[in-house]
């Protein structure tokens, strides 16, 4: 048997080998082209979908509508500004009702109030009486109030004077309020 006998010529064999590779290359090129095209189209549509242009148009419409309502917004800002501050003022106001009543209740009989000043931070009281005992009772009551932290936190005697002509005594005291 002769090995040299071949139905195909060398050129044909060579041609058959190269056509296989060519087919693969052709398929690969076409696939690359199609893949590139598909990805480009997908990217195009994704970019359009994610584009903020449509949203910006709606924003501009909303901004225009809001510009027509700026007067209302300004009124609301002022209202909120006042509402923020009013409770602080109202709550920090001193209620002299309790202080005055508490002090006046401690004034014993026979003692008259010459002057009384009650402020946010302090109380000043000037009383007079013909009885030193009554004045003493008043002082003790006020000291008790200070000890028990009621209305005042301390008591200071400014002066204790004797009115020889009027036969009486006058006391000036002051204290810091709680």
């Amino acid at each position: 048997m002769k090995n040299e006998i071949n139905l195909l010529s060398p050129a044909q064999i060579d041609r058959a080998k190269t056509s296989g590779a060519l087919r693969i290359l052709r398929i690969a090129a076409i696939c690359c082209l199609f893949a590139l095209l598909a990805i480009s189209v997908i990217l195009f549509f994704l970019s359009r979908a994610l584009s903020p242009v449509a949203i910006k148009e709606k924003e501009n419409d909303a901004l225009y509508s809001l510009s027509l309502l700026h007067k209302r917004e300004a009124k609301l800002v002022v209202i909120n500004d006042r509402i923020k501050d009013l409770p602080n003022i109202i709550q920090s106001r001193s209620n002299f009702d309790v202080s005055i009543n508490a002090i006046l209740q401690k004034i014993p009989e026979g003692v008259s109030v010459n002057s009384m000043t009650i402020g946010k931070d302090k109380i000043e009281l000037t009383v007079s009486s013909s009885s030193l005992l009554s004045i003493n009772n008043l002082m003790n009551s006020l000291i008790d109030m200070a000890k028990n932290k009621k209305i005042i936190k301390n008591v200071t005697i400014d002066s204790l004077a004797v009115d020889v002509k009027g036969n009486g005594y006058s006391l000036s005291i002051k204290g810091d309020t709680l």
């Binding site: 090129a29 590139l36 909303a62 006042r82």
Partner: protein, 239 residues
Amino acid sequence: MNEKTNIDINTIKIIYTRYKQQILFIITILVCLLLFLVVIIPRILELSTLSKNAKNEADKLIILKNNLDLLSGMDDSTLDSQLKLVSSALPMDKDFEGILNAVSQAAINSGVSLSDYEFQVGDLSETSFKTSGFPYLSMSLSVKSTYQGTVKFVNELYRSFPISEVVSISQESNAVVVKILFYYKPLPQIRFNDSEPIQAVSPKGIELINKLSLWNYSALPNSLTSPISSSASTSTFPF
């Protein structure tokens, strides 16, 4: 023995003729790869930035829509009455008329009579008392009454506008002298930034407004309770 191979133009022509189709396909593949690397990949990376921008703009749009819904749903008359009320309670400037009216109405309601009173305007050199931190107009007035009557007067004044605070009560001769501060506050600077959420009046704010409306608000003179007109030159309100 090394064979020398000469590549000349004829050789290239022969190679090209023989492998023309393969060369074409290889160039096509290379160009596609190049386009993918140079154009497609950056575009894909851009998408994430685009997505973030779109989300930010969408969030901004939601805020704008909420602001628009809030403002559109507001009733002008309710807003005006609320504004009038809180502006009467804490005026934008020294409200002499309101103060005098509040003082006289409080005196009538508490059954006391007033004698002398004086305003102290301008900067006070003496600030021996703590204040709420707001500008105020100080007033000193004499009440012809007892301490209890004076306390009643103060309680009535505390339910009047403008908002006031008594800083001292002192007895002098036959009268009780009351030192009062009437607060006011200039308008805040209003800057319209529609991208920020607008705050509606809170429930606590509504509660406060309802509480204030029960006070001696009706004691205000007609000039302050008349409807707001844009052309009114005597109007207290700038809106």
